[in-house]
């Protein structure tokens, strides 16, 4: 029997599989099946949503034959299956449920995973090309372990969360060729995610949002599972459905940086001590950019990134607590506020959204943080703010999680930088931020 492990590209669902069974009278039944899932070296799983005849036949004699097709080479293999059990929970069920959730909008909501059927593979045979049209081209896949080692070593050298984020995305492009990537962090309020770092797009999209549970990014976060799509070329409708689910077509104020026509996508949850700290997302205009082995490499990198992001954010907290920073930042002398032009700042307490000169800037915690800085500045001329002071301020309604403040500050600073407007925020030194304004802020708080 050919080892199933050697056929991993045939279990990607790129080219539909085929299933055949026989009924009590010996009459065969044959139909397409969207996906045969690899479970282990001796088992596969099927989610059969539509084909009641197949289910009836399997319930009778436990036999099914499937043919899987390698999405790269077209090589076909026939698997003789014997039904073993149905599962309604667990690792395989969850993995298949998330795949189905992505397909669901394309299928008008009629697909819902009730159970997965686990089959024992009794034999696996190749279907050789009897009359090949062309000679098969051998597939060369480079070793990824060395690249993982190099990138994680670079990540370990980073001393702060921001450098870490940039070094990771830079390394994914340089070492692995994953040139379009981003990191999103939980917004801590609406259950969604916000882009904090990106590489390879026309715009950085800092502050762009993905709603909870939507698209492969939202699903990866909500279910804490990796989601990988190997080939989106099976139809424009499919691509549009996935793009919509990725949040691209939502009426969000800042568009998600996204490729126009991606063919491969992967999203991995970043988890530290059992808590979601973000999502690493990457995409490509090529098919098969993310094979099973790429996912394995990215799992290691995502684990390292999640832990390091959490650790570096907390270390900043510890640094402040140990008193290595200067004393509380003093206010500038009254009257130091520049007289320059008027900067119109409008703030909506309902969702913390903040507009500068009628342009949307950001919402949520980063919006409230900036309002806080601007109000203090307008009142006292204060320009320097310490993380420690910010955290103590009850007006800000900061989430409890420690690393949230750090990532919100990074997000706010990057968003201001990207906008290149009259307000900037720089990191003056450890735990200290400096606000710079090219004019006098006039703040309007709009209660709705």
């Amino acid at each position: 029997m050919i080892p199933l492990e050697s056929l991993r590209d045939s279990f990607e669902g790129v080219i539909p599989s085929i299933i055949a069974t026989t009924d009590a009278d010996g009459m065969p039944n044959i139909s397409y099946l969207s996906h045969v899932h690899y479970v282990d070296e001796a088992h596969v799983a099927l989610s059969d949503q539509f084909f009641s005849k197949t289910a009836t036949n399997v319930a009778r004699n436990g036999l099914a034959t499937v043919m899987v097709v390698d999405g790269y080479s077209g090589q076909q293999h026939v698997l003789d299956l014997a039904f073993e059990r149905s599962e309604t929970e667990g690792e395989t069920f969850e993995r298949m449920a998330i795949h189905l959730a992505i397909l669901e909008s394309r299928m008008s909501g009629i697909m819902k995973l009730r159970a997965v059927d686990i089959y024992r593979v009794e034999d696996c045979r190749a279907v050789p090309a009897a009359n090949p049209l062309v000679a098969p081209e051998p597939l060369f896949l480079p070793d990824l372990m060395g690249k993982v080692a190099r990138l994680t070593a670079r990540m370990s050298d980073c001393g702060d969360p921001e450098t870490l984020l940039d070094a990771t995305l830079e390394g994914l492009g340089e070492l692995f060729g994953y040139r379009h990537s981003m990191v999103l962090v939980p917004d801590g309020e609406r259950g969604g995610l916000t882009t904090i770092a990106s590489r390879g797009y026309d715009q950085f999209g800092f502050g762009a949002e993905v709603p909870a549970g939507r698209g492969i990014i939202g699903l990866a976060a909500e279910r804490r599972r990796n989601v990988r799509i190997t080939d989106l070329s099976r139809g424009r409708r499919y691509i549009e459905a996935v793009r919509a689910m990725a949040g691209v077509e939502d009426a969000t104020p800042i568009p998600l940086p996204a490729l126009d026509k991606p063919l491969s996508q992967i999203a991995l949850p970043l988890v530290a001590r059992g808590r979601l700290v973000g999502v690493l997302f990457s995409e490509s205009t090529e098919r098969f950019t993310f094979r099973h082995r790429d996912e394995e490499a990215l799992i290691v990198i995502a684990a390292h990134l999640g832990t390091a992001l959490s650790f570096l954010s907390e270390e900043r907290e510890r640094g402040e607590a140990n008193g290595r920073e200067k004393a509380d930042a003093p206010a500038d002398p009254a009257g130091s506020v520049p007289a320059g032009r008027r900067i119109a700042v409008r703030f909506y307490p309902r969702d913390g959204s903040l507009f500068v000169d009628d342009d949307y800037l950001i919402r949520g915690v980063p919006g409230r943080l900036l309002l806080h800085f601007l109000e203090d500045y307008a009142r006292t001329g204060k320009r320097d703010f310490l993380n420690r002071e910010i955290r103590r301020d009850r007006r800000l309604q900061l989430p409890d999680f420690k690393d949230n403040l750090e990532t919100r500050l990074i997000l706010l600073r990057r968003r201001l930088e990207e906008k290149a407007g009259p307000i900037t925020l720089e990191r003056a030194d450890r735990g200290r931020l400096r606000l710079t304004l090219a004019g006098r802020p006039e703040i309007e708080v709009v209660e709705e």
Binding site: A20, G26, M27, N29, S31, M67, V127, N131, P136
Partner: protein, 158 residues
């Protein structure tokens, strides 16, 4: 038994699958290389490559049951026709020509869709074509969705 629309559908350039089974009831899978319907008898003349699908073709014996499925790639419209094999043998010249035309058209369509010739090497073949004469016995809706598996009357089959 087959309505005209159904005949037109299965004779159009749809993807074709078939399944036979061995003595023990284990199904065998193959891909079809074209089909045509005898308007007089209502039988299907179903073409398959023996060299590409030796297992499925070797179980396609007169008297044995067979299932054939037809799928239009553009909209997933699909149906399954089950029946009994009346005769099996090497395809004659006319059927070979039909099989070769079907394979050539499918290859052109797939390549236009971005499928590579390498990927198609194992899928379609017009070599060593056999012609299975099939008496249709039942027709089923197979388009994905809640209606899949529904038995169609000849009238509704179109």
């Amino acid at each position: 038994m087959l309505g005209q629309e159904l005949v037109d559908f299965i004779e159009s350039p749809v993807m074709i699958l078939f399944a036979t089974r061995d003595e023990a009831g284990r199904p065998m899978i193959g891909r079809g290389s074209g089909v045509c319907v005898d308007r007089q008898s209502g039988h299907l003349h179903f073409l398959a490559s023996r060299s590409q699908w030796p297992d499925a073709v070797s179980e396609a014996l007169p008297g044995r049951p067979i299932a054939t499925t037809y799928v239009r790639a553009t909209d997933y419209k699909a149906c399954q026709i089950k029946g009994r094999i009346v005769a099996a043998g090497a395809a004659d010249e006319a059927h070979r020509a039909r099989g070769e035309a079907y394979v050539a058209e499918q290859l052109a369509r797939m390549i236009a869709l971005g499928v590579t010739r390498m990927q198609l090497s194992s899928t379609l073949s017009d070599q060593e074509l056999v012609c299975l004469t099939i008496e249709p016995q039942a027709i089923f809706e197979q388009t994905p969705g809640p209606g899949a598996g529904r038995r169609l009357t000849p009238e509704a089959a179109a």
